[in-house]
Amino acid sequence: MKKKSFTIADLKHQKVLLVWAAILTIYGIIFYYVPLFGWAMAFENYKPVTGILHSDFIGLDKFKFLFSDATFLRVIRNTLAMGIINLVVTFVMAIVFAILLNEVATKGGKKVVQTISYLPHFLSWIIVTGILHDALSGSGIVNELLVHFHILKAPINFFAHEKYFWPIVAFANVWKETGWNAIIYLAAITSIDPSLYEAAAIDGAGRWAKIKNVTLPGIKPTIMILLLMNVGNVLNAGFEIQYLLGNDLIMKVSQTIDIYVLKWGISQNDYALGTAAGIFKSLVSIILVVFFNNMAKRHGEERLF
């Protein structure tokens, strides 16, 4: 069928689509686009009484304050550091797990392990951090094992030392999401042409050689697109777990941009400062997405948009 020009009859026919599209677009404008106007607050001496429209314009003062605030610079560092560590570690673990699970010879065993591996994904961060607190507490299983095998002389409080916090957060992410993240790689592995493995076997390739030369190249496009999708979210990955696991002793390494926004914006009622910090986070995220998207385009990989 050729595309014909648009007529009144079409409009009548599509009326129901247009009505619903209008309703849902209004919803989208209210809940996703209207908050963007709130960004104006960051450039104002915002007071709830005068509102966004009538508060005094102060330009970039709030941003100047942010970037001279040692705490804010530290929360940027923490957010980026934990975001990158988590991204790398969870990525590698998910791929390794998917490849190894695919190599499990017994079908029943594979199914059981995979089902168990999804379990933590369905638990909330509240539950996961609660479990972590138990496991890492002075009388928890981790200390017990470490003391038993003489790696430690006495139990330590893992949540009282700054150096343990980032590894704990990374481990928690791996524990919670490895099985879930592996799903998509397993799907990609099953779609690899079996004749490639047979050809590799004829060439005398062992297990490792097959993984290296067939499996990994086969799932490379999937890896690339997931990496792209996640890089833009690096700064978003820093809230729930840090908020729930952090404490005053390790505040210096546990606080992230979102926690800073919550603390200044909601608890201290400095809406302008909180918004400014939020804008900074959004802008960095968008730059990351666009940058990596273009990079992928140049290398001829699949793109997001």
Binding site: L123, H133, D134, E144, D258, S282, V289
Partner: protein, 299 residues
Amino acid sequence: MKQKITLKRISGADLAFRIFNTIFMLVFVIVTLYPVLNTVAISLNDGSDALRGGIYLWPRMFTLKNYKTVLEKDNLVTGAYITVLRTVIGTLLALVTNAILAFIVSRKNFIFSKQISLFWVITMYVNGGMIPIFILYKTLGLTNSFMVYVIPGMISAFNMLVIRTYMRGIPDSLEESAQLDGAGYTTIFLKIISPLCKPVYATVALFVAVFQWNSWFDAMLYNRMATEYTTLQYELMKLLSSVTNQASNATAMKNSEGGITPTSIRAAATVVTMLPIVCIYPFLQKYFVTGLTLGGVKE
């Protein structure tokens, strides 16, 4: 192919790989399951006794007292009720709206298909941030209300795109022949497309339901004062902070009444909170595998 390998003499390297892989999988399973099973054991054990430590996979002094206490706590019961309610209503609303939107943008001859798709894709990358959103909800009167759980996050571009991708895979000829029979879009959506979309609807319903069940931050941020709208996860979080703020086990021991401690109550509440999901998810595996694969598709 696999059978051939087992019939052949297994080479040394192959054997080493299999042993390594088996050990890896065993460690993985133990690390995943142990903390969960340990929580179950503690929840079934006398609270004061549990403080002595040494409880692993099986309770030492079996009791159901912790569960009884949990089920008698008003805030936890309210939380459970609100959580069930938001999961059911939130999932239904999200499913209906995302399905309608996906239907609209997947119609090839609809004039605004492209524009509306873009409008929603943008929302995946740009958002106002915590404070402007907080002010908006306050202005709309959504704070201190149940609605804040089910209205704001209703349509999500990701879920919509998952359904849209699936709908695009349905042959156009079905729609065309229905139109020849005089069917309007409402009929096509309800009678032709939706029945074929059951698997993807189940997937999205599962995603939304899990999200709703596990949410706690919205309860803390928007409904902190409205205790009648508290949720299970938020109450669980309060229990967690009460446990970690405890000065020492000795004070906990002193404060514990009749073998109930904050730790044992929290364990029981945790089990109650995770039980429904843990019981259901193994049977829905094929749905979330479908959803993730569709979600990975670009644009």
